[in-house]
């Protein structure tokens, strides 16, 4: 099934609306069958990127390719992609059945085949045709509308399905259910999914790869683990999950590590190519990779910054301890909850502590553009 050509490819694509640059010099490839997410805050250009794939916008510069064919100026109805809209965009004057049949009718599918294909698509999204086919969209719940919108797109068997924050309006439980369902549809149907979301957790759960967007550009493309564990910039580090950021100046290096001068603390970070001596550096550390120790009990070899506990926040799975560091910065340290009734964390606001982590858990970040 998998072809050698990427399902979707952007080559240095730019798009402006008036003086607003929505997408700038964006390049990426989506492999056939992949679940690819465009993730970023509102206004980062992710929806414009999706609309460029669908054909609702044409690029000012660069090329948009679908399966190796340049489609820059093809109209949406000539591209053969499917799309699920944020608002579902079900035709309010047509029944569920007629909504799903809409695309089939436009593509000249013989009338006799349509009912069976409509029923098949509804079953695919787990709506019983006998129960739902004759209903009007106004008679459906949000989750059911979502499924009809999905069936309407899938019935045409597109090779690429575009989804624009389709779960945004659903409640949390339904959303989690749909996330897994979408993921399994992507696997079982072999259709390429391009999914726009601002919800980082959603992107992590579903995606094979994520493109993190910020200010009209792609900040990083990678698997969920790469994005989370090896963020390239401070933006990515703080947008995907939480991160404690520290600024410093690189100092001397040995074979594996580079010393960082953070004002009056010395830290070690893993050595990596491009990291020179005497240059400014920003590092990020995930809260759950940090630990707290009494000032005199920091294990040897760990980076440690002294500070005072400000607050202890109970989150269930974890306990977040907010520490005001003596350097003036603050840090969040996530401790595993081992049962506050049995084995409570020994820290209370005012405790003097050292926030410590292993040098190799430091993420060296590039400056944001």
């Amino acid at each position: 099934m998998a072809s050698r050509q990427p399902a979707v490819e952007f080559q240095r694509v730019s798009k402006s609306f008036g003086s607003v640059r929505a997408v700038e010099q964006v390049s990426f490839q989506v492999e056939d069958g992949e679940f690819f997410s465009l993730l970023g805050p509102s206004g980062c250009g992710k929806t414009t990127t999706l609309r460029l794939i669908a054909g609702f916008e044409t690029p000012d510069a660069g090329h948009v390719l679908l399966h190796g064919t340049r489609v820059n100026h093809l109209r949406p109805y000539e591209r053969g992609v499917g799309m699920v809209f944020q608002s579902y965009a079900l035709f309010p004057h047509l029944s569920v059945e007629r909504n799903v049949a809409f695309g089939l009718e436009r593509h000249g599918v013989p009338r006799a085949e349509i009912p069976a294909r409509v029923a098949g698509a509804l079953e695919l999204v787990r709506l019983r045709p006998a129960q739902f086919a004759q209903r009007m969209p106004s008679e459906l719940s949000g989750g059911q509308r979502q499924r009809v919108a999905l069936a309407r797109a899938l019935v045409l068997e597109p090779r690429v399905l575009l989804l624009d924050e389709p779960l945004g309006a659903l409640d949390l439980k339904l959303r989690k259910e749909m996330q897994l369902e979408l993921k399994s549809l992507n696997r079982s149907l072999g259709i390429t999914f391009v999914y726009v979301t601002h919800d980082q957790e959603e992107a992590l759960v579903m995606s094979d790869r994520i493109a993190v967007m910020s200010e009209a550009r792609i900040a990083q493309v990678g698997s969920p683990a790469e994005i989370y564990e090896n963020p390239r910039t401070a933006f990515v580090a703080s947008f995907i999950g939480e991160s404690n950021l520290f600024d410093g100046q690189t100092g001397r290096r040995d074979n594996r590590r580079v010393q960082v001068d953070g004002g009056w603390v010395r830290l070690w970070v893993p050595s990596q190519p491009g990291l020179e001596e005497e240059q400014p550096i920003q590092i990020g550390v995930r809260p759950e990779w940090m630990d707290l120790f009494p000032l005199d009990q920091v294990p040897p070899g760990e980076n440690a910054i002294p500070g005072t506990v400000q607050d202890v926040i109970y989150l269930g799975e974890t306990i977040h301890v907010l520490v005001a560091l003596d350097s003036g910065a603050s840090a969040t340290v996530a401790l595993r909850n081992e049962g506050q009734l049995i084995k409570p964390v020994p820290w209370t606001p005012g405790s003097r502590v050292a926030a410590a982590w292993l040098p190799e858990d430091s993420q060296v970040l590039e400056p944001d553009r």
């Binding site: 669908a54 035709f91 004057h93 809409f102």
Partner: protein, 286 residues
């Protein structure tokens, strides 16, 4: 506002009472009067004499009057169709327009600032032999000498369309403006070319506006008499002229009342049939 009453039913009653009262006094009572007149005897000097007769209704079903009624309905349908053909594209354009929308809407409503009568007089100046249209055509060399425009069926049609066009445009605009862009995009991505997109999505979803606009154009056209009087001369009489004539010149109030009632019955029947057919077709009604 305690004096509205605390119980919902009291409050509802106090809110609808003024409107109900107004309608009762100025709509139901006159209608009852007109119906009463239509079954009384004629007083040759105007007004009515006591009595009870259906003679005036019987008289109306004379081919002469039925002809006027038929012509009026035909004219009004034509006015409606022409208004729809001219008004829909305008409404569509305004709804698509982002920046100049307010200005365009203002221009559509602008004619309402002058009286209908004044606008019809303006049409005379446009259409008469020495009027703007003829002068322009002669100047452009399209015609050698002025053609007769005023006092023709065309003039009546033009006047009525001009008079009622905003009533067609505004409701259609209202329903098109509500149309969600993502529906059009969904249609497009599902394979609908522009024509199919219009016929399958835009048009059906703007039908409430088309229905409202058509009724707002058709019904006043049926009852209009000023336009036919001023622009059609005496030759293009419509039922409105007939009724007006019975009350003013012919001084036959009972017959005028009977004609009014027949017209009202026709309007009601046509509207109900129209709405009923649309209901049966399963299309949404505004």
């Amino acid at each position: 506002m305690a004096w509205f009453g605390r119980r919902p039913s009291t409050r509802l009653a106090s809110l609808i009472a003024p409107g109900t009262l107004w309608l009762a006094v100025f709509f139901l009572v006159p209608i009852a009067l007109v119906f009463g007149y239509s079954v009384m005897r004629r007083d040759p000097f105007g007004g009515v004499l006591p009595g009870f007769t259906f003679e005036h209704y019987r008289r109306f079903f004379d081919p002469l009057y039925l002809d006027v009624l038929g012509r009026t309905i035909g004219w009004s349908l034509l006015v409606t169709v022409v208004s729809l053909a001219l008004g829909y594209p305008v409404a569509y354009l305004i709804a698509r327009e982002r920046r100049r929308r307010r200005l365009l809407l203002f221009l559509v409503v602008l004619p309402f600032w002058t009286s209908f009568l004044v606008r019809m007089f303006a049409m005379i100046f446009l259409l008469r032999d020495t009027g703007f249209v003829n002068s322009a055509l002669v100047a452009a060399g399209v015609i050698d000498e002025p053609i007769q425009l005023l006092y023709t069926p065309f003039a009546v049609l033009a006047g009525l369309v001009y008079g009622f066009l905003p009533l067609m445009i505004l409701p259609i605009y209202a329903s098109l403006e509500k149309l969600d862009d993502s529906l059009l995009e969904a249609a497009e991505v599902l394979g609908a070319r522009p024509a199919a997109r219009f016929l399958r999505v835009t048009l059906p979803l703007s039908m409430p506006g088309v229905v409202a606009g058509s009724l707002l154009t058709f019904i006043p056209s049926l009852g209009s008499f000023v336009t036919a009087d001023l622009l059609g001369g005496a030759k293009q009489a419509m039922i409105g002229n007939l009724i007006q004539n019975q009350f003013t010149v012919a001084r036959n109030w009972p017959f005028g009342s009977a004609a009014s009632f027949v017209l009202m019955a026709v309007v009601l029947t046509l509207v109900l049939v129209y709405l009923g057919r649309r209901d049966a077709a399963g299309a949404p009604i505004g």
